[in-house]
Symmetry: D2
Subunit: 412 residues, 4 copies
């Protein structure tokens, strides 16, 4: 091999599969390696260490390979500083800009390793030279004058090691299975939520309208009221159906007590939107006594923040819905950068879950529940290392989760 | 139109859609009709009556059309007797034999309308001339000398009218929906089961192994013990996993209490089969004290009959499993011809549910529950007029159903 | 029954199932009916006629029942004029406003039956008293001073009769089946498209990004170029992946020729967006020679209009994407009101398909193709009488459709 | 740690993930390890080597851990001989018998490492002491006097290393994705089939009846005739529908040319079975000229063996169907032990595919195609390291595969 560079790997690189990934990448890129040093942690708590010379036939091939290795946590020996370039037109990034992962990242700048804030996938790194800080920014937010990291040199990614203690997130290992005992899994999820709350962490729900159709709105309302859910991300439909349920007792015209469509019920949907329009906002509708229970009611009453993001299939929409999709992302991001956000429940919505998944740093634990196995798989594939998926029915899952929370609280 | 015959239709032929079906068929076969008499029931409880002349361009076309009309309940005026032919070789039917629907059927024989017993789809009608009786028989059971109905002449099908009172089976109308309130639906199913039991009817369960994996075995065991389930149809896997759960606490090696795979658990499956082999049968294993709880245990203890039908993916199989598929059908049919059988719960098994569906007369109410919407749709398409489908998770559905049964019993 | 009104039904009311629906509704509302006149079309081409007295115990019950009957096409004898009310605040409708179906509708106003323009579901009817016209408007577009229809009185819906000639849309009858011969179905769809074009009708495609991932972009590009597709509705992702495919040969970093992920390919997605940002628009990128083939290229080159509607999961988005969801609906509506729009292909996108379905009048034929049976069912349930669904793989479906179009053209 | 044993690992243990698995297992069992020797292959073609001391707190814990490590390829230093026990009753295995994986396995017996023949999952190892051979046997085949391996000591499993050359089986890496370019994937599968044939390997098809319904029977018939398929595993339904297609032009009464149900077509299914019953067998029906084309015809004409395995949902069944499920397994196994069997196509059948998957050694490459993503995932989870899954529509997949085979043959 004509061209080569040395890299170092540290940590639980063997049992987290990082070393295996490195070798895969070398193979894939037709590169080569020579292991110059290797110490396998003798005991399972010890970190391992490897120093390898990575080779390739061409400079370009080597550079591509090295750039992939960086993304799984390799530190390149003799690492130079990051290169930066200046944005000249709004929303247009300099050629060759670095695009981020959702893992903790540092850049080597002015001889210092600076942590990058607000990590999310598929963003750029903007450096504040004056304050020696750096943060993630999406392309659409770039402004002229912004200093952006270019190329892969000088960027270090802390690829997540798989922890040894076996919580529910670890033992499921990113697995989606309909062959798990459902109520047991629910109980374990409940235990994680209780643990989160004890540690002062926040739990958010991203939910779809099937939560209401399937009859789980009372359970979610209770979870908001009792403080298990600290934040709600949803769309127009969830809010409208929830309000319709409160005002007319139906969801899209179906009586949720009997499961039957009611007389003229098809109109309730539009009539609900109209009533909220008249009131001015969901808040006003609660204050005026028009809305007296349900998920949105509990959010208002308990000061639980919610973001209702618009989509092109919305009727109305409600005055609270953010019609501009990029503004809606911004509004969600405000809550997601909160370092206390510890868990994200994604229930019965692919659109909103993917949108939120795009914004999440990899340390937030996620639970994806959908009746469609393909949706669950899709959500699990988005790079979160601490995610569990359940193919289940929201209408029974959420009431069972509430029941499990209550039981576990009692046991303590 | 050169060729024609007169037919009569009676009953709730308009609101059950039978008249619409007749017209569809006439249109499809490029036939024609002339309505000679029609009286629409003036009030909604009154039956309607129609007498129509059905025409076609050729004799053959007319005969095909008439034969289709018979299947939706048309009575052909001046109806001749059924034609019969004699079987000369075992399992070989005479040319042009009549193939059955699963609806109540009569044949016009020796000037009498004889009811056909043991109705099921896709069978033949065998006539006992001496006793003036008739019954359904599958082709593979034909013996030389059997007298078999040939052609469509003289056969009358009582196409099911849709009843006006709205039970859960009626209001769902053969609908599969994941947009119903799950717990409400479960409560309505529970109410139907309780009604069945009050009327002295039997409820059967056809279940797949996911019942055990998903952690619902205790709920099913309780339903057997408490007399909600009178009959169990399943395969080798459900029984093995249930027994493994009792003997080792695992299902395919997974601890159902923790949801985790246990040490060496992959062997439990085969070890369970071996233990039952050694005992000689499930009955013997219960008697000897090896098996002390679970679904199979409750079946043995409560004299609840079960049929375990073999499939090519079986390990073992258990000594109780009927390896021959046709014998297994025969054994299931024994229970299905019981006139007291009123309801069939089909949960998490496509293979066994379709097999049972093939054997069922159309008056048995069926409930199909599966996590896969395509499976539910497939089961609902098999001609049962009183079927409801739910796309749900067996592991939460069954415990919730048991809870609903208990609550409803208490309320009474 | 204390309260009653007379209704009339005309047309193929029996074989289209309309009479059966009427009786269902009467039963459901615990009403009653008395058939005062009934003439069943003697031959299959003759219309039928029914005059019925509909009764109920209370005035309110009767009014609800009558309002439902109107929606399936009943004409109320002695029908009064529509009531109207005036909008006083933007986006707030008068109490009791009429909400529309997607079927052709007339209102009885100033002694005239006026047709309602721009029919779509779940909208209001706004009357222009001066010009004696009426049109559908969504709630969010209401302006002070608008005159809106209130109540159900004086509104007539032409419920679609099922035509007798059996095209592919009729014989499928709203059916979703994975048990149809796929290539045969594709050939029939191709024949309908060719027929549409001969009749001067337009065909639109609503497509999801899986069209690109699954390798069908060349087929769609050809369909645009050859004039089979006259209009494209999509989101940011389809356009970005298509452009990435053209610029980098990949889709989300996967080489579509080899099916393998390429070196650094994860960046192509963002780099593509950046290049279009730099160019200013897709049009500019085509003009400048940056983009030289693909779906978007063909749209630009052939003046085929497209609407790219934003969603909250967008990266970027491209400058051509309409970020505001309500503006995006408006833009789509512009094309949908075109009376020449005859067919809508909905492929591999639930979000955009539902959004478009909400805007479509019921006479546009729709074809829904998705790998997920639940998505196909959901789309088929939205009230379009002329819809067919196929559970299939876009990556083979679209190339096969193009092949079938070419073969059929050759045969002529 | 009080108890310990030394193990050795050899080969591409890092990049195949074997070393990572070892560490996972140690962690899971709360054991410990001390790496006494480790040499990472310096170049990527070099094997690595590790010698580790594995420790645990109790003898039992250690023994469990060691037994798991053996299953991923660990060689225990100072390995004793296998223990054996003698079967005393038919079908009853000795306590603690060894249950197999589907990977190549050796046993240490009489100081020799003997390879185990006919490897499959979940079977026992029976030793022929006289000839010093060993083979897999399922429990139900055990006879008194058989010598069976007991415990884990002395058993060595060659856990599959992931090969470096990137064929389609390697690059897909056990992945199921609907986000691959479909026609590209099909072309790669076609290339693998052509390569198989060149190497004198056999390709088998396990297929479900949807192959016929979806219109792919001509493509499969051609693949049999042209020698791409050497062996067919199916059930009664595939054969009946194929024969019905030939005799009546329909499949379950649907005309596959038009996609429409034909007059009286529901009878074709039973009439077909009756005709074959009369002929005596499919072979006789082909010889007599009753059957003149189709999949079964080509199998008979080209001496392509087929196994039709019965299931409880069979109508008839055809005389060629093996009604006893265990006999059917035996018959399939006869062909599966053929060392030339190189590839298994599993299309549109979960039941038969799982049954065959249970019998397959891990070296046979498998391709799973189903419209249901859950079915594909389930098949991929069964331990075959060289499997690829496609969520696709059999009715277009198979004709496209045939087309790709023809194109590739032409290119050569």
């Amino acid at each position: 091999m004509k061209f080569s560079r040395e890299i170092e790997l540290r940590g639980h690189i063997v049992d987290s599969g990082i070393l295996a990934k490195v070798m895969d990448l070398v193979a894939e890129y037709n590169g080569d390696f020579d292991t110059e040093e290797f110490s396998l942690g003798r005991q399972k708590t010890d970190p391992s260490y490897a120093k390898m010379k990575i080779g390739a036939e061409t400079e370009e091939q080597l550079s591509q390979l090295i750039s992939e290795l960086r993304r799984v946590g390799a530190l390149v020996i003799g690492e130079e500083e990051v290169s930066v370039a200046t944005v000249t037109r709004a929303k247009v990034a300099p050629e060759g800009f670095y695009s981020t992962t959702n893992h903790p990242t540092h850049i080597h700048f002015n001889n210092t390793w600076i942590p990058v804030e607000n990590m999310k996938m598929d963003a750029l790194i903007v450096v504040d030279k004056k304050h020696m800080t750096a943060k993630c920014l999406v392309q659409g937010k770039l402004m002229p004058g912004d200093t952006v990291v270019v190329g892969e040199e000088g960027v270090r990614v802390d690829f997540p090691e798989r922890p040894r203690e076996m919580g529910v997130f670890e033992f499921m290992g990113g697995d989606v299975s309909s062959e798990r005992p459902s109520l047991t899994m629910i109980r374990r999820v409940a235990a994680e939520i209780i643990q989160m709350k004890k540690n002062g962490k926040k739990v958010a729900l991203v939910g779809g309208p099937a939560i209401i159709h399937s009859g789980a709105s009372d359970a979610v309302a209770a979870m908001v009221r009792e403080g298990y859910i600290d934040l709600l991300f949803a769309g127009n439909a969830l809010a409208v159906h929830d309000l319709e349920h409160n005002i007319f007792g139906t969801s899209l015209g179906m009586n949720l007590k009997s499961g039957e469509l009611v007389t003229g019920g098809h109109r309730h949907h539009l009539y609900t939107i109209n009533k909220i329009m008249e009131a001015g906002s969901i808040y006003a509708a609660v204050q005026s006594g028009l809305v007296t229970r349900g998920i949105m009611y509990e959010c208002i009453k308990n000061d639980t923040p919610f973001v209702l993001a618009g989509s092109i299939r919305d009727d109305g929409p409600l005055p609270d819905v953010i019609q501009n999709t990029i503004q809606a992302q911004d509004e969600m991001r405000k809550y997601i950068v909160d370092p206390d956000l510890g868990m994200m429940l994604m229930v019965a919505t692919l659109l909103h879950s993917i949108a939120v998944g795009n914004l999440l740093p990899s340390h937030v634990k996620t639970i994806c529940v959908d009746i469609n196995p393909a949706s669950v798989t899709k959500l699990m594939d988005r790079g979160t290392s601490q995610a569990i998926g359940m193919v289940s029915d929201a209408g029974i899952f959420l009431p069972s989760l509430l029941e499990a929370l209550h039981e576990l609280e009692k046991e303590e």
